[in-house]
């Protein structure tokens, strides 16, 4: 399969802090890729660079064969890249349904009844239907995380970036979430997932990239990667309670 996302020579630093140091990798169309690394390694910054929330100092990002390095965040979403935020960013004054409707109308470009149906559909998929009329500002943290997923899905992405959406879930909720993500993946959506809850991540992804200090330090099949000493070192203590 061909690459849907192609990142080459990406660099970004904030003064002395390097968050992306010559980052280079491809993501195949339909793949599920996991990103691992300690806190502050540059994982979320990588997402910000891919979605256009941050501009790189150097390097190139191509999506579906098109150079999108100069595209705004909004244009990238319209091209098919959507994300969930690690710290949820709900539209607090709007209802849960309206949050999803923003994704459907603005991101996916749908109109009228089609957009409404799609928004209802993603609420159904993410278990938020009972909360549809609630103001998003009144949701609990877990519900906000689900809303992040719902809203990103509503934009009908070809590439979905998930930023730590499993943290803090109970086992039952986590199983439900894994099922949801597997279903999204099976429908053909490419996924890149940053996650500290390793068993959730490893249940879905086919390949893992490990980064630290903005550098790619390992890459490969999840089982092989988890046996590497440098990865064990990073996750010692984090894996124990996951």
């Amino acid at each position: 399969m061909s690459a849907i996302l192609s990142i080459s020579g990406l660099r970004k630093s904030f003064d002395a802090v390097v968050v992306a140091d010559d980052t280079t990798f491809d993501v195949r169309n339909g793949e599920a890729l996991g990103i691992l690394g300690p806190n502050g390694a540059g994982k979320t910054s990588l997402f910000n660079l891919i979605t256009g929330a941050l501009k790189p100092d150097a390097g190139r990002i191509a999506f579906a064969g098109e150079d999108i390095t100069g595209f705004s965040a909004a244009a990238r979403c319209k091209h098919g890249i959507a994300r969930s935020f690690q710290i949820p960013q709900p539209f607090g004054g709007m209802t849960v349904f309206e949050n999803a409707l923003v994704g459907a109308t603005q991101g996916a470009g749908m109109h009228g009844a089609e957009a409404e149906e799609h928004a209802l559909d993603v609420l159904q998929q993410t278990g938020l239907m009972p909360k549809a009329n609630l103001r998003a500002g009144a949701l609990s943290l877990l519900e906000r995380k689900r809303l992040e997923l719902a809203r990103a899905l509503a934009a009908r992405p070809r590439l979905l970036l998930l930023d730590e959406i499993a943290g803090g879930l109970t086992d039952a909720e986590c199983v439900e979430l894994i099922d949801t993500i597997k279903r999204i993946h099976a429908s053909g959506t490419t996924i890149i997932w940053i996650e500290h809850v390793l068993h959730a991540l490893l249940a879905v992804v086919e390949r893992v990239i490990v980064i630290d200090f903005g550098k790619q330090i390992a890459e490969g099949d999840p089982n092989t990667i988890m046996e590497l000493p440098e990865v064990k070192e990073i996750y010692l203590g984090i894996d124990a309670d996951a």
Partner: protein, 334 residues
């Protein structure tokens, strides 16, 4: 499970009927109200319009301008200039002022949109001061001391004084209805949904495909144009203009911010409630001189501390009310 989506509520349906009846009664004011009352109501409508516009710009688009007096004054001055030198009918001049303000607001926006937050607010104020100083230089319009609208221009509105007063009143009422209706229809549309999303989180909105800069520019241009039209109407009633009156930060921005903040910023109902509260305070305290301004300040501080979402924010959170049906409601289908 199947569901359907609706937008109107019982409160909003009742609200529509009440609003339509109230509008009929208000439109008939020249037959039942006295001269002074009509003048006061006219002023209320124009302040209501300014408040709705400022709320759209600051409360939704996050453009907290303290310089909209630039466009109020510009509209007023264009009324004088276009009628005196251009020979236009006053109503045509007021509409032309709106168009000119729209064109002028584009280069201003490209300049001040580079500023964020507090710097943006100060930038808008600086622009308004530049306007004031520039118009004070135009000797043909009376320079720093200003000028009066010539009798011929005033008479072209209507021959009799009572006719003019009725016309002024209807123009102000019509302007308020058009402003509120336009803001309402805009917020109800797809673009309005995008603007509401920007109100709540810019970073999430841009991540979901919303072009923030363009949306804000559109809001700024449209509110500036409408603000200039309202300015033209204000000075068509005052019949006299001077740079200090036209570009007064107190009259056209501070009071407007007070109205929006106490009523409930970022809601459609807020400016309406705020306008009523503001005029109720002003009319009861008018005889006490400066105490009136001190009470306004006190009310603003108390509301900001105790109810940062304003009076309407309190009511809405408590009763889940909505007079303008903007929200979508999901209902299960049986």
């Amino acid at each position: 499970m199947s569901a359907r989506v609706t937008r109107s509520t019982r409160a909003s349906r009742v609200g529509t009927v009440v609003a339509a009846l109230a509008l009929l009664v208000l439109a008939a004011a020249p037959w039942w109200a006295g001269r002074a009352d009509m003048r006061l109501m006219g002023e209320i409508y124009l302040y209501l319009s300014l408040a709705c516009l400022w709320n759209l710009m600051a409360g939704y688009a996050g453009l907290v301008s303290v310089g909209q007096q630039a466009f109020v004054g510009f509209g007023g001055y264009m009324l004088f200039a276009l009628t005196i030198f251009g020979g236009l009918h006053p109503i045509a001049a007021i509409l032309a002022a709106g168009l000119l303000a729209a064109m002028l607001s584009v280069p201003i926006a490209t300049l001040i949109f580079r500023l964020k937050g507090a710097y943006f607010a100060i930038g808008t104020w600086v622009i308004a001061e530049v306007f004031r100083l520039s118009f004070a230089q135009i000797q043909a319009l009376g320079g720093g001391s200003g000028s009066s609208l010539p009798v011929g221009v005033v008479k072209s509105l209507a021959a009799s004084r009572s006719g003019r007063e009725a016309l002024s009143y209807w123009l102000a009422l019509g302007a308020a209805v058009i402003v509120i209706l336009s803001v309402y229809l805009f917020l109800r549309s797809r673009r309005g949904l995008a603007l509401t999303a920007i109100r709540d989180s810019e970073v999430a909105a841009s991540g979901l495909g919303i072009d923030i800069w363009r949306t804000k520019l559109e809001v700024y241009v449209v509110t500036s144009a409408f603000t200039a039209v309202i300015g033209g109407l204000i000075f068509s009633q005052k019949l006299r203009i001077s740079p200090d009156a036209a570009f007064s930060v107190n009259d056209w921005t501070a009071f407007v911010i007070f109205i929006v903040v106490i009523g409930g910023i970022g809601t459609l109902e807020g400016p309406i409630i705020g306008t009523l509260v503001f005029f109720a305070l002003r009319e009861t305290l008018a005889d006490f001189g400066t105490i009136y301004l001190m009470v306004l300040g006190l009310v603003a501080i108390v509301v900001m501390l105790k109810a940062p979402k304003g009076i309407w924010g309190l009511v809405r959170d408590r009763f889940d009310l909505e007079l303008f049906p903007l929200s979508y409601r999901v209902r299960k289908r049986d």
